[in-house]
């Protein structure tokens, strides 16, 4: 069993900020827009170094999406930054018409996704954004798991021609993927090999899946852990080749079970290789105030929940 070391808890949004700073230095076409959340999105380094390429739009997300779309005309690569709720639900029609349908090369970068936003509560804890974004034709949807991967993904999406939704979060979480890794959009990363059950996780749940695999290993269950950082396009091959070995699967995400990673995986399985599946996800509910750890426990989005669902799905084989 592979061992992964947490090199120190750090927030994924800081990975975005670090990646954006590098892009600012390396790619003169990269521009950034923010709707009054520069500090929260960790965009200060870019703003300070490239004030001419940074646009503070104020609390006006709809306008921000339109301006970003327009900036692409003339060759700019705009990165928008605000919370996930205001990056998606609030501006869905602007993204749909001015960005996705118009085929604009905008990178929608969204922090504070999911329950781990914490104490601010359900108004800000969007659990529907992956579904909203993956339904848009041509939209690439990425949900990274730690600082290093978020940094790498931020840099990688600048070279992808087309709209991208990049989702990350607020809390300090384990940083365990390689420093200065290369990031390939749409390519799943196998973290553990196992033959009993496949665990496919995205975002903050990837570290939890590794923790769950350790527990399962101690109990004699070999779990294969796959980090699906790209929800769309989904790496169908990686999922199918794994379930052909294991015969059952658990999906894990900080998102509603309706519309998220789990449903995308179900679609692949139903079409190509029907397989018992369990979902670690919120159950069609809003969140609430609390610490991230309390919320993840209450809503069943942690290593303990993944272990339970793994045992449940094993019985269905």
């Amino acid at each position: 069993m592979k061992t992964y070391t947490n090199t120190g808890n750090i927030d994924t949004r800081s990975g975005f900020g670090a990646g954006l700073e590098i892009l600012g230095d390396s790619n003169p076409n990269v521009v950034a827009l923010c709707a009054d959340l520069t500090g929260s999105l960790k965009m200060n380094a870019f703003k300070d170094k490239h004030p001419d390429r940074f646009f503070q739009v104020g609390i006006a997300e709809a306008n921000m999406m339109g301006i970003a779309a327009g900036l692409t005309i003339g060759g700019k690569i705009p990165f928008t930054g605000t919370f996930a709720n205001f990056s998606t639900g609030r501006v869905y029609d602007q993204i749909r018409q001015s960005i996705a349908y118009s085929g604009k090369n905008v990178k929608i970068c969204a922090s504070h996704a999911g329950l781990t936003l914490g104490e601010d509560g359900a108004t800000h804890q969007i659990l529907e954004d992956l579904g909203l974004m993956k339904m848009l034709p041509g939209m690439t949807v990425i949900n990274t798991c730690d600082f290093n991967q978020t940094k790498a993904a931020t840099i990688a999406i600048a070279d992808h021609d087309g709209p991208v939704y990049l989702r990350f979060g607020r809390p300090k979480v384990a940083n365990f993927t390689p420093k200065d890794q290369s990031f390939e959009i749409g390519k799943a990363v196998k973290l553990q090999e196992g033959t009993d059950v496949t665990i496919v996780a995205t975002g903050h749940l990837v570290w939890e899946a590794l923790e769950a695999a350790k527990t399962l290993h101690e109990q004699g269950i070999a779990a294969e852990v796959i980090n699906i950082h790209t929800i769309k396009p989904l790496d169908d091959k990686a999922i199918l080749s794994s379930v052909k070995q294991t015969g059952c699967i658990v999906t894990a995400e900080e998102h509603n079970y309706l519309g998220g990673l789990g449903e995308s995986v179900s679609r692949v399985l139903a079409q190509h290789h029907p397989t018992p599946q369990e979902f670690v996800a919120t159950q069609d509910t809003f969140g609430e105030s609390g610490t991230p750890a309390q919320l993840m426990e209450k809503y069943g989005l942690n290593a303990k929940a993944i272990v339970e669902k793994s045992k449940k799905v094993l019985k269905r084989k």
Binding site: R53, N63, M64, I73, G74, Q94, S98
Partner: protein
């Protein structure tokens, strides 16, 4: 060939010269010539919507003079269409439902074959009910139809021009009823705050929307005062269906660019202009004429440049 020359020379100065000489410089058309163009565009509008029994003739007819002057005389556009639109003026249509006038003028300015107007709103057409980039129609740089989004996109492209050191201008057109959408006011506030002075936005001020007059549906008060309060340079034009008036107001607007303020033209137009029974009512906002009505409308606008 030109682009390969540019690549071969790798010389910015030469490239700029080439771009300059390749840029269309429309000769000033006389009013009578442009009137013929306007009349033909009106025919195109009526025939497009009649054929598919759908579409928006009212606003299209009201903006015919604006489109004709803008595209024939004002816009400095390159001979070929590319999405990036560097080193040329750009136009964005925010009230996308008036696509019939947009398509007619684009085609008659050489962006695509006039014959293609036959396919308006048909299946497998590039001429969708509302304009889109999705089908690759030359001349269109953003989808529009869901109202209130065009100004933000136009502002983004104006910022892009500033970053690129491109001195060309960005033009946009908006319905007056469309200003009820809140995103406009986000954009209006942003433009002034950021001194975006390379944009000329025009409001088609016809006072009509689907459910009735704008004053009946949601009165917008004094638009001039509102734009001025938001820091824009405002020009009012009472005769938006007069070719010379449109020509003059666009020239005046251009003279006001580059002065640290965005410029807006409040262009009073008559919905349905040029077809008597369609004028002064919102009834023809989104309704096509029947056979008999088409005949009357065409009689009032005799063929000038040749029907498609």
């Amino acid at each position: 060939m030109i682009s390969s020359l540019i690549t071969a020379h790798k010389n910015v100065f030469v490239a700029q010269l080439l771009v300059y000489f390749c840029t269309k410089r429309y000769k000033m058309t006389t009013s009578s010539n442009l009137q013929e163009f306007v009349t033909q565009v009106r025919r195109d509008i009526l025939r497009q919507v009649h054929k598919v029994n759908s579409g928006h003739p009212g606003g299209s007819l009201g903006c015919t003079e604006f489109f004709s002057v803008l595209f024939k005389e004002v816009l400095r556009a390159k001979d070929h269409f590319d999405m990036d639109g560097k080193d040329e003026d750009l136009f964005f249509l925010s009230n996308g439902h008036i696509s019939p006038v947009y398509y007619s003028v684009l085609s008659r300015c050489g962006y695509f074959p006039v014959e293609e107007l036959k396919t308006f709103r048909h299946i497998n057409s590039r001429l969708q009910g509302h304009p889109t980039t999705h089908e690759g129609l030359p001349g269109v740089r953003t989808a529009s139809g869901s109202l209130g989004q065009g100004l933000s996109v136009a502002l983004g492209s104006a910022l892009s021009k500033k970053l690129n050191g491109d001195k060309h201008l960005v033009y946009s057109l908006h319905g007056d009823g469309e200003l009820q959408e809140g995103q406009n006011w986000e954009a209006i506030m942003f433009a002034a705050a950021n001194k975006i002075d390379n944009i000329i936005a025009t409001v088609d001020y016809n006072g009509q929307q689907i459910d009735g007059s704008t004053d009946d549906v949601l009165p917008m008060g004094d638009l001039k005062a509102k734009f001025e309060a938001f820091g824009w340079d405002v020009i009012e034009e009472e005769n938006g269906n007069d070719i010379d008036a449109v020509r003059n107001v666009l020239a005046e607007a251009k003279s006001k660019t580059g002065q640290s303020k965005p410029v807006v033209i409040l262009l009073k137009t008559i919905m349905g202009n040029g077809v008597d029974f369609m004028m002064h009512t919102h009834a023809w906002h989104g309704k096509a004429p029947n056979d008999e009505q088409l005949e009357i409308g065409l009689k009032q606008n005799p063929e000038t440049l040749g029907d498609y």
